[in-house]
């Protein structure tokens, strides 16, 4: 998308009139994807790289979909992501508000947040498995951590960036601290929180797949890891594509929610 947009603007700069409506853009998107898949088909039909053809992958996908394996894997991965992600957001938002609102809370919490932020969540997995066993808990914990850390910083940033005059405006209209918090701080920091939610969901998703590669009995990552043992490239492709599509869908859902919640924002 980003590449296409920048190409689009440079075209404009050169004065070449191109259709830029949403429908035209979607059309170009589709053409680009079809082109990519054709290239894939072309390259693999000559056996150039030893990769499965799109047809083989599609066939494998249908088999997995019919056996129900694809759905149960996707559900297992999604279930982990949502549990960990929801917990992460649920804790991150109040903690972020606390850090933004009370300097004391900030001083206590910030060193931990900053420290753990520098550790990739995946690096916690060995520790989590040793201390929490090999069931769902360590995976959910790691996802929790991934989404918590990105959302807590975003929320806190949101609170401290609230315009002082906006707070003063509420204050001179008679608002007390609680009203200011609920009716000014919360809505004003919402755009920041949504950025954190979006990043948090993205990192949760990549974390869950990686965590399943390391230790799981189900899920898209686990399926790929199994397929790797049997040299089953088609299955690996099915899993990869499913991961990509599901990630994209989740991101678009968050973006749609965001554009509704922050429609009041003046966007450039």
């Amino acid at each position: 998308m980003a590449v296409m947009e920048s190409e689009n603007t440079s075209d404009k700069a050169r004065g070449i009139p191109l259709p830029t409506g949403p429908l035209a853009m979607l059309g170009i998107n589709i053409v680009a994807v079809v082109f990519g898949i054709s290239m894939w088909a072309l390259v693999t039909s000559y056996g150039v790289v030893g990769l499965p053809t799109p047809l083989a992958v599609a066939r494998q996908a249908v088999i997995q979909a019919q056996s129900g394996l694809l759905w149960s894997d996707a559900l297992a991965s999604l279930g982990r992501v949502f549990t960990g992600f929801a917990l992460g957001i649920l804790v991150a938002i109040p903690v972020g508000f606390l850090m933004g609102w009370y300097k004391i809370a900030r001083a206590i919490i910030e060193p931990y947040v900053q420290f753990f932020r520098t550790i990739p969540p995946l690096a916690i997995i060995p520790l989590a498995i040793v201390t929490m066993g090999i069931d769902e808990t360590p995976k959910i914990f790691v996802i929790f951590l991934a989404s918590f850390l990105s959302s807590v910083v975003a929320t806190y940033q949101g609170v401290i960036s609230v315009d002082r005059t906006m707070i003063n405006a509420a204050r001179v209209l008679g608002a007390n601290d609680f009203t200011i918090f609920r009716r000014v701080i919360v809505p004003a920091s919402l755009p920041y929180i949504m950025v954190g939610v979006r990043i948090g969901l993205g990192s949760s998703w990549s974390t869950v797949v990686a965590a399943e590669l390391i230790a799981a009995q189900s899920g898209l990552g686990f399926r790929m890891q199994q397929a790797q043992l049997y040299y089953d490239l088609a299955t690996i492709f099915v899993s990869l594509i499913s991961i990509g599509i599901l990630g994209l869908i989740m991101d678009r859902i968050v973006m749609a929610i965001d554009s509704v919640l922050t429609a009041w924002q003046e966007k450039l």
Partner: protein, 257 residues
């Protein structure tokens, strides 16, 4: 008659790390009568906003005090409405919701809120935009919304810090007239800060001229023009004499003693 607002020896210093305290306001004494419209002009940094924020209760003075109706100001209160240069509307609320913000806090019920907001939104000419978000309004419309919001909670005093500073000359003049029209219908005590000498003379019954370093009251110019003010007055020789007097006081103050 006791003054509505009374600055008594108000001093404000700011501590700047590593330097001696900076005096933003030096012993300000000023009485403003009930229902009076005063404007405050002075060079940038002379403490105009500081003085207004102290009266609003948003800043505490280093010494001295501001009295409103003989009571010492200790914090903000809905009897003192404030209008900021940057509008400070809540962007997630519509014009009507912005105007009703203070009414909700004051505990008015839905119907009352609606009635009051309708009234003031109509008074500032935004009826057609009552349900619009601030991002869809022009600067002048935003400031009118802010004025309606401040008026809605029925403050006895309006403190305005360069409210028209960001607007073009034409909009500015229109809003000055609207503000005066509103003020004559709904009389309030107004303290209006501006950089614009014309604006200061046109609006006020007294122009308070301040000087910088240290910030202090330099001169008070009485504007003996009757209200309502008109365009003819703005072009009269009397007006230009007053404007010249204020101008000289702002830009060429005699050296501080």
């Amino acid at each position: 008659m006791t003054p509505k607002i009374s600055f008594r020896d108000v001093r404000k210093t700011f501590d700047i790390a590593g330097r001696t305290a900076f005096t933003a306001l030096e012993g300000l004494n000023l009485d403003i009568d009930d229902g009076e419209f005063i404007t405050v002009v002075g060079p940038s940094g002379c403490g105009k906003s500081t003085a207004m924020n102290i009266a609003a209760g948003l800043t505490a003075p280093s010494s001295g005090q501001v009295l409103v109706d003989d009571a010492v100001v200790a914090g903000p209160g809905p009897e003192r409405g404030v209008i900021f240069q940057q509008y400070a509307l809540f962007p997630w609320l519509t014009v009507r919701q912005n105007v009703e913000f203070g009414l909700k806090i004051a505990g008015h019920n839905r119907d009352e809120r609606r009635r009051i907001s309708d009234h003031f939104i109509a008074l500032v000419g935004l009826t057609d935009f009552a349900n619009s978000l601030p991002k869809t309004l022009s600067g002048g419309m935003k400031q009118r919304c802010a004025i309606a919001r401040a008026y809605a909670v029925n403050p006895k005093i309006l403190l305005m810090d360069e409210p028209f500073g960001a607007l073009d000359a034409l909009t500015r003049v229109q809003l000055q007239d609207q503000l005066l029209a509103m003020w004559s219908k709904e009389r309030r005590t107004v303290m209006f800060i501006t950089h614009d000498v014309d604006e200061a003379v046109y609006l006020a019954s007294r122009v308070v001229v301040m000087a910088a370093r240290p910030g202090r009251l330099y001169k008070i110019v009485n504007v003996d023009l009757p209200y309502p003010r008109t365009e003819d007055m703005r072009l009269s020789s009397e007006f230009s004499e007053l404007r010249n007097e204020v101008w000289r006081a702002v830009y060429h103050p005699a050296a501080a003693a």
